[in-house]
């Protein structure tokens, strides 16, 4: 018995040894960004010459980059709101029902993240050109809203399925609650965690998004990812690393919040 146990233990160790380089591979890029941003030199290099905040100063001192940053936040917040409303209401509408074609409807809701984003980008470009709305940040926000909706929907739906006891709705009604009260007292508390988690994911997706923002950009509507993308193609400067650090920071915050939420509900991802 102990022979096979030790075999199993070494099997586990083997797995860890095999995985370690892969995990390092996964983590490596994220690790080098911030040190790069703190580099003294004017060129991007790794390992960097420590240590200076000049890249951040450059970044914050450049009005175009600052504008893009603010624009990105603006676009993303609106996009998340759109996605939360659309995804959340859809999750409630479909909760607990089964009907012919439900699978199809859900598939349709998921469509924006299944379809290659460049196709959505082309279509949005053609549409907004037709509507003569190109050049403002609004089309980007709306397009991102559509992109965020499936994430919110999935998360909200999963949350409702686990949190909402169907007898609760009947309970509330038997006590005199009319539909609005049922939504407020029963559905809203149940959907909140899932809605939040999905919104966080939607936030990350929208803030990081390049292709839609690229196709829909305007003179005053250049999001941070688009500006970063253009910059990367021309010349790698530390300013880029500074902006990239912002993205890393966001990722870390999201990761931390997710870990916190998982601890609360006892689930992982």
């Amino acid at each position: 018995m102990s022979a096979s146990r030790s075999l199993r233990l070494s099997g586990h160790a083997l797995l860890l040894i095999a995985s370690a380089p892969i995990l390092l591979f996964l983590l490596l890029p994220s690790l080098i960004i911030v040190p790069m941003a703190l580099s003294k030199s004017q060129m991007i290099q790794f390992p960097p010459e420590w240590i200076s905040l000049h890249s951040f100063v450059d970044y914050l001192g450049d009005p175009q980059w600052v504008d893009s940053t603010l624009l990105s936040f603006q676009v993303t917040i609106v996009a998340v709101l759109i996605g939360a409303v659309a995804g959340g209401t859809a999750a409630i509408a479909l909760h607990g029902r089964s009907f012919a074609g439900k699978g199809l409807l859900v598939g349709l809701i998921m469509m924006p993240i299944v379809i290659p984003v460049v196709i959505m980008a082309l279509g949005d470009y053609l549409l907004f050109a037709q509507l003569r709305l190109l050049g403002s940040w609004v089309p980007i926000a709306v397009a991102h809203g559509v992109l965020a909706t499936p994430y919110v929907f999935i998360s909200a739906q999963a949350g409702l399925t686990s949190e909402l006891n169907p007898a609760l709705v009947r309970s509330a009604r038997s006590l005199g609650a009319r539909p609005t009260s049922v939504l407020y007292h029963v559905y809203w508390p149940a959907i909140r965690p899932g809605l939040l988690a999905g919104s966080m994911l939607g936030f990350a997706v929208s803030f990081d998004e390049v292709v839609l923002a690229l196709f829909l950009q305007g003179a005053n509507a250049v999001t941070l990812p688009v500006r970063t993308f253009s910059a990367i193609q021309y010349e790698l400067t530390p300013k880029i690393a500074a902006s990239a650090s912002l993205f890393i920071a966001l990722a870390l915050v999201a990761l931390g919040l997710q870990a916190l939420a998982a601890r609360k509900t006892g689930r992982l991802s």
Binding site: A167, S171, S174, L175, H185, V186
Partner: protein, 388 residues
């Protein structure tokens, strides 16, 4: 605003002066001619504890759901003090409902849960807080107001569910198998609590269960349901001791079903010939139908109502003990008599308790304890209430 409700306070004078809930000609179908509830009629009198008892699929839960408003009847009326509420949505009815699992709002604390019904009726915050606290005090949960449901024991959750349903003075309480998933010890104590509360508040209760012990213990009347119909309705003793059909006889406890031939009347009882040339006196069928001499009948006698005698007495038959099993509270005998195996249950110790396999005995019963049964379900035109 719910026009059917006047917020007020429960006072001693309002006890048992509630509203009568009547169900008339209720039918329910989900599709092509498939009826799950057929022609159900009953009246829930003020202060009464009425149980719908039946196996799963008997339509008892569907009936309750129609009274509560979560299902719409295909046909029929649901009357509260004569007003038909069959088409009103649940939120406009004035019933307190307790579901299996209690369905307490998990993110609200105990006080908020109990206040909920009052809040939905527009009772101002100070008032509803006072009434909720008062109700919680009366059910013994005054110290638990800020707890969340998940912090409560099963019994405490039930009390919150009941308090929540009672606080707005409903016309009746509807309970849908609330004790279904619990273990026996807890069930029994919670059954007592429900009964207690009912007596104290004088509220009418419509209770659904498949557990006949539960029904017998708690109810003023039991309506036995099968295949969507009420087969028999009456006080527990009636339904148990004088079952109308083989189904009722078999569903509530055990019984012996003995075929025989009706011969005639004798002093108010029917005379029936059994196999082995035995003859006995039994009660007439509960639905009052008349019998003709020579007609085949089935007689139901409960195992505990058959007495083992060491000598010949009134209405006795000869039998042979096949086996005996000591069950603790009673001893079970299987006895070959009247051409079949009869089950007899004996609780007290007597010379006959020493009998076992192979021993010859005499069995007997009181005429009052044996019942001719009516035909199987479907042959019954109308459910009959036994008038005593």
């Amino acid at each position: 605003m719910n026009s059917a409700v006047q917020p007020g306070t429960l006072s001693a004078s309002s006890r048992k002066a509630g509203r009568e809930v009547e169900v008339r000609g209720l039918w329910k179908s989900y599709g092509e001619g498939e009826y799950v509830v057929r022609d159900v009629n009953f009246a829930l009198r003020p202060g009464e504890f009425l149980t719908l008892l039946g196996p799963s699929g008997s339509g008892k839960t569907t009936t309750l759901m129609m009274v509560a408003g979560f299902e719409n009847p295909t046909r029929g009326e649901i009357l509260v003090d004569g007003h038909d509420i069959a088409l009103r949505p649940p939120e406009q009815r004035n019933f307190g409902v307790v579901f299996q699992g209690y369905a307490l709002f998990p993110q609200k604390n105990v006080l908020e849960n109990v206040e909920f019904g009052l809040r939905m009726r527009g009772v101002p915050p100070a008032d509803r807080r006072r009434r909720a606290l008062d109700m919680l005090d009366r059910v013994g949960l005054a110290d638990f107001t800020t707890r969340k449901p998940r912090e409560l024991s099963g019994g405490q959750q039930q009390r919150v569910a009941l308090a929540r349903a009672l606080v707005f003075e409903p016309d009746a309480l509807l309970l849908d198998e609330p004790l279904g998933a619990l273990d026996r010890k807890l069930r029994e104590s919670l059954q007592n609590e429900i009964k207690e509360l009912q007596k104290r508040f004088g509220i009418s209760i419509l209770f659904v269960t498949h557990d006949q012990d539960e029904a017998m213990m708690m109810s003023d009347r039991i309506a036995v349901m099968a295949e969507g119909r009420i087969v028999q309705i009456g006080p527990p003793s009636d339904v148990y001791l004088h079952p109308a059909t083989p189904f009722v006889a078999g569903f509530l406890g055990e019984t012996n079903l003995v075929p025989g031939t009706y011969q005639g009347m004798d002093d108010g009882y029917a005379v029936v010939d059994f196999k082995d040339a035995a003859r006995g006196r039994v009660r007439l069928p509960a639905d009052g139908r008349s019998l003709t001499a020579g007609e085949a009948v089935v007689v139901s006698v409960r195992p505990e109502r058959i007495r083992l005698l060491t000598d010949h007495a009134e209405t006795t038959f000869a039998g042979l003990v096949a086996d005996c099993t000591f069950m603790g509270r009673h001893t079970r005998y299987r006895i070959q008599a009247l051409g079949q195996a009869l089950t007899v249950s004996v609780t007290e110790w007597s010379p006959t308790s020493a009998l076992c396999a192979g021993a010859p005995v005499w069995l007997g019963w009181q005429a009052e304890d044996a019942q001719i049964l009516s035909g199987p379900e479907g042959a019954l035109p109308m459910p009959q209430e036994i008038v005593r």
